[in-house]
Symmetry: C2
Subunit: 379 residues, 2 copies
Amino acid sequence: MEQKSSKLLEKLRGLRREHKGLINLMPLQTGGMLTDAAREALAEFGDGYSVCDFCEGSLCNVTNPPIRDFVQELLPQFLGCEVATITHGAREAKFMVMHSLAKPGDSILVDGNRHYTTVVAAERVGLNIMEVPNSGHPEFQIDVDEYTAVIKQHAPKLILLTYPDGNYGNLPDARRLGEIAHEYSIPYIINGAYAVGRMPVSMDELGADFIIGSGHKSMASAGPAGVLGMKKKWEESVLRKSGKYSKKEIELLGCTIRGVPLITLMASFPYVRERVQHWDEQVSKAQWFSAELEKLGFVQLGENPHRHDLLHFDAPVLYEISKRVREKGYFLYKELKERGIWGPQPGLARSFKLSTFAADRQQLGFVIDSFKAILNKYS
Amino acid sequence: MEQKSSKLLEKLRGLRREHKGLINLMPLQTGGMLTDAAREALAEFGDGYSVCDFCEGSLCNVTNPPIRDFVQELLPQFLGCEVATITHGAREAKFMVMHSLAKPGDSILVDGNRHYTTVVAAERVGLNIMEVPNSGHPEFQIDVDEYTAVIKQHAPKLILLTYPDGNYGNLPDARRLGEIAHEYSIPYIINGAYAVGRMPVSMDELGADFIIGSGHKSMASAGPAGVLGMKKKWEESVLRKSGKYSKKEIELLGCTIRGVPLITLMASFPYVRERVQHWDEQVSKAQWFSAELEKLGFVQLGENPHRHDLLHFDAPVLYEISKRVREKGYFLYKELKERGIWGPQPGLARSFKLSTFAADRQQLGFVIDSFKAILNKYS
């Protein structure tokens, strides 16, 4: 027992990240890499509860550090919403909204490309989940007009659209769905975990009631951190106060990220606000990269031409190799890592996702050359 | 608009903590100050989603970094429980348990010294909250035998004890309440946010069903981070899996702290595990400090002699001063800060809380002398 514990404790000493410093193409991570400002903030506010030095009862009202200005002024402007708050992340924001506006047994209508946490959040509330299917291989598109028939037939309490989805990086017609939501008076949630902080997106312009973003996924923040924007009319429901503690919001359990991730989110925000203005360059970089990989025999799934940095490829040529090498699907991870590249989930070779968001064209050129070299090596 | 934004954005640059480097007596913070190992881990794992490099479907099952060993082996041993998991913090753990084991309209019985988040978590679930009152001024003790009558009359679904509470640092007879819980077969939650990581505490020895700890409050971790331990028999309820995603726990929404606070919790753990063995020294240090402040005319509330580093004082002498100085209650904060001491909530002088956990005897001697000097200055 004691000996086993000692061994396990030893593993906790000097924790290191194997992938630090590599060219990072991992979709979960490319939008969450910290800015230098956020790195400084990490060191400054690392200690537990260090954001609470001057708390007067509510995290989002703290003025030093300037959380209140960030949440009440900058975020609503950035999200195109009337009221914003801080959450532990996108999934927790989805749960908050669902838990506030629907009851067990109610229904929610979502897109077939939704993240798994949309389903789990709905399960936690006890909702029936209905889905508008995607168009299938190879584009997996969501036609938002298909929401209409289901709304007419089942009168769901909420609708949700994943914009873009995390599997294919597709951007469905969120604005059209806003019109539909308005027509049928159904609260409309946009899960923008891969949009907010990467590309310009405005809840108001899309006609949604809620917009959700992820700090660690797309806002150059440490995790866990999320943002939730909404129309003013939902504030009373979703941000309802405790009956006993008038400053405490029930769905936030008083305060959410009472720690350093919030500070990294804030420290990176000026940069993030600026970077979304350069989204066109991100899109053309992704399209160029995708076209180059297609020349190697890979097939890009999802919308083509693509409008997001998140790319999903079928790679039959790599799959053929994986069948005959000792490492099976891991050979791709290993070969890329040896070349200083980190991206596809270890073990996957037949089909994998990459994000071009954090790498520049020179690095991506090196990635393309590396894929070529790997194919040559095993041909 | 643009000019206002620019000003607000400017505030986000170079965020600094005013209290860094001061002698820290703030109860929320003294147990959450990072170890050097945790500081290194912060820098290494700061980027968003960096704990997820080798995810195979669930945060608590990640083997690199060794989260699985930490959660499945080290934590249960440390907490004296059979099954453990990671949460965003103590309040989120309370909500998880309540949400899993009780339904809207059910009742929960808690101690009158409970943290406000116990109430808010119960409100979020829709529970009726019943309280066993404390004994009032000056000791505010909870007599756990008073749970019995309420249990007999109202048959609550859950009982909860705050051990110790955050207002007075009282340690009620948790073991006796374990016997009562057992006798009436009611699931028993210990909120040990100020115990786990500071002092030895074992769920099993106290006869509880759940034990909750806070990383940022008492485990030398960045926030948000919490731990939840339970008896094996509750795993199926509280850690129930999604119907659609067999690896995903519904109450955790799949994964909780997918970021650097978990890594700081792990990096500090060997040190935290060791420090709880020196709890006797902490208690005698707190008692000595309290006795010295009582000599100055302050009145220590809560159990006396005290058995925890969290101390609450009535300070009529300081209150008298605050009534006649320009800064009102803020004079105390200002005077202490000028002397390099941070502790009482800014604005409070009549009654305030301090924790002796992070300061050594020499520093505390300086604090005592500082209080003397402040009293002299205004006498």
